[in-house]
Structures are given as structure tokens and as C-alpha cells.
Amino acid sequence: MTNLLFERPGKLLSFKDYEQADGFKTLKCVLDKKPQDLIDEIKKAKLLGRGGAGFPVGLKMQFVADESSDIKYIICNADEGEPGTFKDRELLRRNPLKVIEAMIIAAYAIGASKGYLYVRGEYTNIKDHIEAGIKEARQKNYLGPNIMGTGFSFDLEYRSGVGAYICGEETALIESIEGRAGDPRQKPPYTAQKGLFNKPTLVHNVETLVNLLPIMQLGAATYTTYGTEASTGTKLFSVSGFVKNKGVFEVAFGLKLSDLIKNQCQTLEAYDTIKFIQVGGSSGVVLPRDLFDIQLSYEAFKAIGANLGSGAIFVADESICILDFLKATANFFRHESCGKCTPCREGNRHISMILDKISQGQGTDKDLGLLKSTCEVMKSASFCGLGQTAPTAILSVIKYFKDELQAHIGGQCYTGACSMKGGDLHV
């Protein structure tokens, strides 16, 4: 196991402890360098965004750095709403100061003077801890005007999410900070040009930003020795489901999924009882047994037409009905759709209705066809990524678990989870 990002699990550092353990030393070093040098180093490190999109971070930062504006913003996206994902929770819980330090470094690189740490509203039990960290950092002149006498000024505000998965999408997040409903905006213009309050804005996931620290500390050359050619460094995988050891695992890219599950996580029952593994959260691909050996990297997933996403890993065994799983997933997207565009607002609802029908033994092949068409129109024509990726799980299941779906249409549920006679499974 690698450990570039985390403190030892269970140890919550106080500000004093962090400073003593070389906290903010990286910041001190960085402020002596030129901002463009930092961006170049990040580009050399080939860091990819860890929130889900996997976009090259150096490039994204360059876009914002190149903009001239009276004010630029940086937003740390800790709205972690993808089901199965809790890595950012851990990063923030164990050491928010690292996140703060990373934000200041990124701000310096792009010329931002104001930042927002947008943490999902449900994480209220770590809010005070984080805000205390920000306050202390300010007192120690790591934040505020003229940081450590370098002339660089940057301050940071904690913002709470308000309970909307869509606000994990960067433009919806910005809408939320601007006091409105989280309706995504059209891109282009990109947030690098017109973001928060129409100013150049860099939005990055917590994990992405924290990766800046080992890159600065070790240098890009060393950083790239971790991981694969295209996926450098480490990834935090949130593992849940039918395993003995659940939690956040920091893994260098390149490890096989099956190795992670077999060795670190260890299945509850025999490994052979694992039916599917969903990677990337509810919007992620559903892998069948013969794909469990897939390499955990962006390129390996891209090769099968999928996306590593947030790195959530949900392990399900044979007791799980594939339809029950799809219904819970569809339920989630139906509830979280912002409602703005037709395919997602209306499509999610019809998907739930058809899945219900199938799970009650009332489904027909025609329904399956309509389900597929609805998935296609959402994937092709939705306004934003939520609608576009909501059908992913269903499309995976149609591809890899057609038999079980077909069995339900024939009136059979392998696991007995579906009542098959009508009745309320709609929770």
C-alpha cells in the first residue's frame, strides 16, 4: 500500500502537530518559485483530475493562469455525493490542513486571490474542525494578505453544500455559491474563463488538490514512478459492500481490481460468490466476473468504454438481485436530477417505472426496448453529465447481465428479492 496522501489512519492532527510534521513547509518552498514553474511541474507529473472526469490538471490550471482578470477564484469541490464514495470525507476528517495548504499552492499557481472550500452539507460532523483549521491558518499568516511576507494574498471561505448531488458538477456548484438552485450551466464558456461571479475559476476535487503536495515535495519525476504511464500517482478507492475491510484504500494505479478486493479488502464469503463490482459509484460501470481482473487505471477503463470516476468500488455478491440494484440506482438519479432538461427530468422517472414493472414480473421485451431507448436519449441528449451518466449502470447490466434481466421478464427473480406479484418495493 502506498501512502502519499494520508496521515496514518485514525490519527487526527492538531494544527501544532501538522506544523511540526513539516506542514506548510511545502507552501513555503512553493512561494519561492514562479507560478508557471509550478504548473509546468504539475504538467510533467501528468496529474489527472480525481473527481471523476480525469481531465489533465496542469492544462486546466494553465487555462486559468492565462486569463487576465481583476480577480480569480479557486474552488475545492468536496461535495462528494457519488454513492459509494467517502474518500474526501476521510481526507478532510483526518487532516483538513493538508487540503488548505494544497489550495493555497494551487491559488498561487493560477493567481487566485479568493478560494472556497465547498463541503457537502451532510458532513456537518467535520465542519467545525475544518473551520477551526482555516481560522488557525489565517492566524499563522498562511492565509490572508501578504502570506508569509511574500506579497501573495489569498483567503479562503468554507461553504456548505445544501443537499444536492448535482452540485458536485462544477457549474452547478458555482450556481450554489452564487445563491441559486444548482442548475448546471452550458460549457463553453468554461469555468476557466467565466466561472464564479463570471470570473476565471479553477474547480478541483479535494483529492486532486491534495496530490499537489507530493508532486511539489517529491518532484514530478519521482511522482510519476508511481502508477502507470498514463495514470500517474495514487488513487483513493472507497470500498464498500460485501467485503471484510471496507474503507478508503490508497493505491498506486496499475493494481488489478481483483488483487485489491482479494488481498486488501477480502470478501466476506468466498471470492467466487462475488457477482458484480460497480466502479465509479452509481454512475459507474457494473463489472461482471470476467472483468474483475481489470487494471485500476484511467486507460484500462477507457478501453472498455467506461470511466474510473470517483473511484468508488461497490462489491456485491450473489444475494443481490441485479434489478433491486438497478432500482436503487435509478431511484437515486430520479431524486437528484435538477429537472432542467427534458431527457433527464422525464427519462429518470420512466426508467424507474419500467424497472418497477419488470421487478413485479409485469415487464415485457417491449419495456426492455423502451428502457434501452430512454437510456440512449439520456446519454445522448441530456444537458449535463448527470443525465448522460445516469443510464450507465443499466446499459452495463443490459450488456453483461442480460440473462438476469430477461429472467425477470420471464417472471423469475434468482435471489427472491423481487416479489414478482406486484407490491411496494419503491422505497
Binding site: 437528484e336 432538461c341 427534458t342 431527457p343 445522448s380 444537458f383
Partner: protein, 571 residues
């Protein structure tokens, strides 16, 4: 240079315009639904999706700008199938009882299903029936028809900055309406009806009063008279295939008499009267240190606005009633007397481009002895429907004049329908009254047109009168904020609630957009130019009215009948 290919055809453009605009210029039609030329582009409905080579998801043509080398398919199999699914999804959550719908025949969704040859729907109907909201005199909301395009929200929040309605909630429960699913009467709404003008379907429409008017006409004991607003004559024709701006004034008296009205009058008459009353009021304030700037008061949507949002500034309003209400008051006193008709058997029907006037007519202070001065207000749309219902059209109708005495009018009264018209009419009279001299140039073109705020300084004798003309409530708000901050350096401000003035009112034919407003405005001014009398104080019938009845502007009787007071209606 942007070289693009659409459906195999190439074209070059100087600017990175939207795919929708580029296609239009190339003569290629891309269907749209939530798109509206006067509103910010949203990309919600996804009807205008097209395939752009190199991009996996389909792109909304309205939102996506062209780039050099772009290859676009607007109608291949993938686009057609997805567009069809989108229409079906919309229809699955839409009340499809078109035959009884207020937008039957003018509905944009109806037209789309026809153009795209939608003949079946694979989806189950998911509409959850909601009651139709009838809780106010002006605007009805039928949310079963709403397709969530968002145009009404833009009209209410961006164009008018009123915010009576907004997006509420999320996902499939997302709806458009007032807070708590109230009726409009329970939130701050001005009944301006701009939401109606932009609705592509029949989700919002005016309260239909046609049947009441027809009943009154049938009732032998009732004497039913009509007054026609300035704007009607240059817009009604649109419902009969004529171009916007074409003047059908001469047909209206015959038409309405044929339909059974006992007399047909012209609201332009009381518009002239308003100028006299308001002109004198203004001069009085100017000379005697009254509250300035004085704000016009003939737009009831605007009155609703100031009463609810800026009640502290009510004193700035002219105390004059609107021409509609002045007419009603005179009809039930002066006219009723003249024709020996008991007021209770006199029915006054006004035809207006306006939905707020339905509310105005039923205000308690707009009546006497338990009877309203104006009994019914019908919009231009209702007039058009009423005409069609009875088998009439605008052809084969002989020209005729409006009835006397309330049918003799000047051009100054006519231009009330356009933004700047009231101000121009007032200036024409005020100038001559104060200086005693004839104006060399009676056209004050600097106050005309669609622009939101127009300013001018006119030399009237010794005084430099500073005026402003605004249309749309966003600009009204701006002026009111200026007044509150003591920064309003004007003497007199004309405020019209609706964009473009009354010709852009909430009761006008569908569609009403800025391009059409411009044509209607042109129609008003070109009709006005042809008139013999063009200044209100030269109206012989108005002069006679003062001599016979009112004595002089703002006499006790004039004050009693033609002036009013306002209320603090802040909720």
C-alpha cells in the same frame, strides 16, 4: 472565418454565431421549443439537438456556437430518433386535450408534433392532474399544460424583475409557479401578462370573459357599449392573417355593431381627456412645488407594481385614472344621462391589449353606487376569438366611424399605445398651453421606440422640462430606485409596464415578440400621422365635454370622476 458544413452543405461566417442561427441563414430549419428570440438562450428542452462530428453527446443548436471546420447533422437518423423520444417524453407529461385548449391552433408544441410527424407515444402518461388556478381576475394557470420550458420565469424575473413565479423544486417535481403553489393573487404579481405572451402552449392565459359580454348583448334590457384601446387596431389583424401594424380601426365599429353592441367608442377619446387632466396636474405641481417627478398612471400593471413594491413613492403618481376608467366613469354618468339610460342597465365593455386591466376594472374605487364603471374587459385575443366565434372576419366589413361623442379623437390619443406616446401627447399640449404658441415640430421622436429608458429635455417657455420614458418593469424599478435615492433629475416620467408599451401588452395576439412590437409601433405612428387632429387640447368633443359637464380640468366634478387614489399593497 468560420467554415462549417451542415447536412453536407458548406457555408462561411464571420462570427461564431450559434448553430441555430447559422442554419437559419443557410435556410435550414432546426426545430426549437424553449428558445425565444427575446429571452436568454437556455437549452432546456433539448428539441434543437444536432449531431456535431467529433463530439459524443448531441449538442443543443441554440446554445452551441459554430467553430471553424465544424461538421453538423441536423436531421440524421440518430438526431431524428432522439428528437422523437424527447417529444414523446414531453407529451407523456402533458395534458393533450388540445380541442378545448386556449392555445388550440396557436400552440408551438402542437405545431412541433405535426412537423415531426409524431403519431404515437411509447411512454405511459405520467401527468398528475392539478386544479386549474382561477384565483384572480386576470390570469389563469393550467399547469397540466406546462412543458417546463422556463420562458415565463424569464419574462417575470429577467424582463419584468417581479418574481411572482419561479422554478420550484427539483427533478420531475420541478414546476413553475408562485411560492407554496399559491394563486398569483397571493404573491406580488402585477398581472402584466408577459408570461402569457411567451408561453408556447396553453399553460397560462387570460380569464375568459367573452361569455359574459355575449350574455349582456343578448339581454334586451341592457344597453351595451364598447370602448376600443389604441393598440387593438394595429394588432387585431394578426389573428386574421394580416401583418402586424396594419390598421383595422375603420372595420371595428361596423364589426362590433354587427355583433350587437349598441354603441362603439374609442378609448383614444379619454386618452385625449387624460392629457388635459394630467397636463394641468403636472403644470400645477411644476409651478407650486408639488411632488416631482410626476409619474404617469395609465398602466395598471405599473400601478400594481408601485403599490406592492414601492408604496412609499405613491405620491409621485398622477392622480388621473387610466383612459379606460375615465371612460367608464363618464359612461355611467354623463353618457347614461344623455341617453336616458339607468346606469344599472348600461354595460361598459372595454377591449384592451392588457390583462392587468381586468384587475383594474374591479377595483372598488373604480365604480359608484355599487356598480363598476367598466363592467368587462376583453383582451385583443378575446376580441379576435369573439369575432371568429360568430362567423365574422375582417374582410367584407364596410368601414365606418366610431360613435359620437366618445369617438372623436386626435393622434395624441392614438399614440398612447406605444411607449413614449403618453409623454409625446402630453408635451404637445403642455407646450402650447404654457407658451401659448403652436409647436413647430410636434413629433418628439426622441421618446419613441423599444429602448427601455429614453430621456429628453424640452424647452417649454422658460423651463427646461426634463422627461424620461420607460417601458418594462425592470426599468420602472430603476427609476423608482433613483427617486428613492434622490437621484432622479426629472420632472415627468412616463412609465409603461410592458416592453414597448401597450402594443406589447399581455393581452395581445400570439406571438408577441420584439420584432412584432416594432411593427405594431410603426403602425401606430403611421396611422397617427394621417390624422387631421393631432393634439389633445384641439379635440372638439373634449372641449365640449368640459363646457357642458366637467367645467375645467381638475374641477370638483372632474376630480370626483376622473381622478383616483392609490393604496399601499405591500404583502
Amino acid at each position: 472565418m468560420y467554415k462549417i458544413t451542415i447536412n453536407g452543405r458548406q457555408a462561411s461566417f464571420d462570427q461564431a454565431i450559434s448553430i441555430l442561427d447559422a442554419a437559419k441563414k443557410m435556410g435550414i430549419k432546426i426545430p426549437t421549443l424553449c428558445y425565444h428570440p427575446d429571452l436568454k438562450v437556455k437549452g432546456n428542452c433539448r428539441v434543437c439537438i444536432v449531431e456535431v462530428e467529433g463530439l459524443q453527446p448531441l449538442q443543443a443548436a441554440c446554445l452551441t456556437k459554430i467553430s471553424d471546420g465544424m461538421v453538423i447533422h441536423t436531421n440524421n437518423k440518430r438526431v431524428r430518433e432522439n428528437r422523437r423520444l424527447i417529444l414523446e417524453l414531453i407529451l407523456a407529461n402533458h395534458d393533450q386535450t388540445c380541442t378545448t385548449c386556449h392555445s388550440n391552433g396557436v400552440c408551438e408544441l402542437q405545431r412541433l408534433t405535426e412537423e415531426l410527424n409524431i403519431k404515437a407515444n411509447r411512454y405511459d402518461q405520467v401527468l398528475e392532474e392539478e386544479p386549474i388556478m382561477y384565483g384572480n381576475p386576470s390570469i389563469v394557470r393550467d399547469m397540466n399544460k406546462c412543458i417546463k420550458c422556463g420562458r415565463c420565469i424569464q419574462a417575470c424575473n429577467d424582463i419584468q424583475e417581479v418574481g411572482a413565479i419561479y422554478n420550484i423544486g427539483r427533478s420531475f417535481e420541478m414546476r413553475m409557479g408562485p411560492a407554496y403553489d399559491f394563486d398569483l393573487s397571493q404573491v406580488k404579481c402585477t398581472y402584466c401578462g408577459q408570461c402569457i405572451n411567451v408561453c408556447p402552449v396553453g399553460a397560462i392565459y387570460e380569464k375568459d370573459d367573452i361569455v359574459h359580454v355575449l350574455n349582456a348583448i343578448e339581454d334586451e334590457s341592457k344597453h351595451v357599449i364598447a370602448q376600443i384601446a389604441p393598440s387593438i387596431r394595429v394588432s387585431l389583424g394578426e389573428m386574421f392573417g394580416l401583418a402586424p401594424g396594419e390598421n383595422v380601426a375603420s372595420k371595428l365599429p361596423t364589426l362590433l355593431r354587427n355583433m350587437g353592441f349598441d354603441a362603439v367608442f374609442d378609448t383614444d377619446f379619454t386618452a385625449d381627456l387624460t392629457i388635459l387632466e394630467e397636463g394641468i396636474e403636472f403644470l400645477d405641481r411644476l409651478e407650486n412645488g408639488g411632488v416631482l417627478p410626476m409619474l404617469t398612471s395609465c398602466s395598471p400593471g405599473w400601478i400594481n407594481y408601485i403599490e406592492q413594491f414601492y408604496p412609499d413613492l405613491i405620491d409621485h403618481l398622477s392622480t388621473c385614472k387610466s383612459p379606460q376608467q375615465m371612460f367608464g366613469a363618464l359612461a355611467k354618468t354623463y353618457y347614461a344621462d344623455k341617453i336616458h339610460q339607468a346606469p344599472k342597465d348600461l354595460v361598459v365593455v372595454s377591449f384592451m391589449p392588457c390583462t392587468a386591466k381586468k384587475f383594474e376594472a374591479q377595483r372598488p374605487e373604480m365604480g359608484r353606487n355599487g356598480l363598476p364603471d367598466v363592467d368587462y374587459v376583453l383582451t385583443t385575443r378575446e376580441l379576435g376569438n369573439m369575432i371568429k366565434m360568430q362567423g365574422y372576419d375582417l374582410d367584407h366589413i364596410e368601414a365606418s366611424d366610431f360613435d359620437a361623442p366618445f369617438g372623436i379623437t386626435t393622434g395624441a390619443g392614438l399614440i398612447f399605445g406605444a411607449s413614449g406616446g403618453v409623454m409625446e401627447a402630453a408635451l404637445r399640449s403642455v407646450y402650447e398651453i404654457v407658451t401659448g404658441q403652436a409647436l413647430k415640430e410636434i413629433n418628439f421622436t426622441q421618446v419613441r421606440g423599444l429602448t427601455g429608458v429614453k430621456e429628453a429635455t424640452i424647452d417649454v417657455g422658460d423651463i427646461q422640462v426634463k422627461v424620461a420614458v420607460t417601458n418594462s418593469l425592470t426599468n420602472a424599478k430603476m427609476i423608482l430606485d433613483k427617486i428613492r435615492n434622490k437621484e432622479a433629475d426629472y420632472h415627468f416620467v412616463e412609465v409603461m409596464c410592458c416592453p414597448g408599451g401597450c402594443i406589447g401588452g399581455g393581452g395581445q395576439p400570439r406571438p408577441t415578440n420584439n420584432a412584432i412590437r416594432i411593427e405594431r409601433i410603426k403602425g401606430i405612428y403611421s396611422a397617427e400621422e394621417k390624422m387631421t387632429l393631432r393634439k389633445s387640447h384641439e379635440n372638439p368633443a373634449v372641449k365640449a365635454l368640459y363646457e357642458e359637464f366637467l367645467e375645467k380640468p381638475n374641477s370638483d366634478l372632474a376630480h370626483k370622476l376622473l381622478h383616483t387614489h392609490y393604496k399601499n399593497r405591500q404583502k
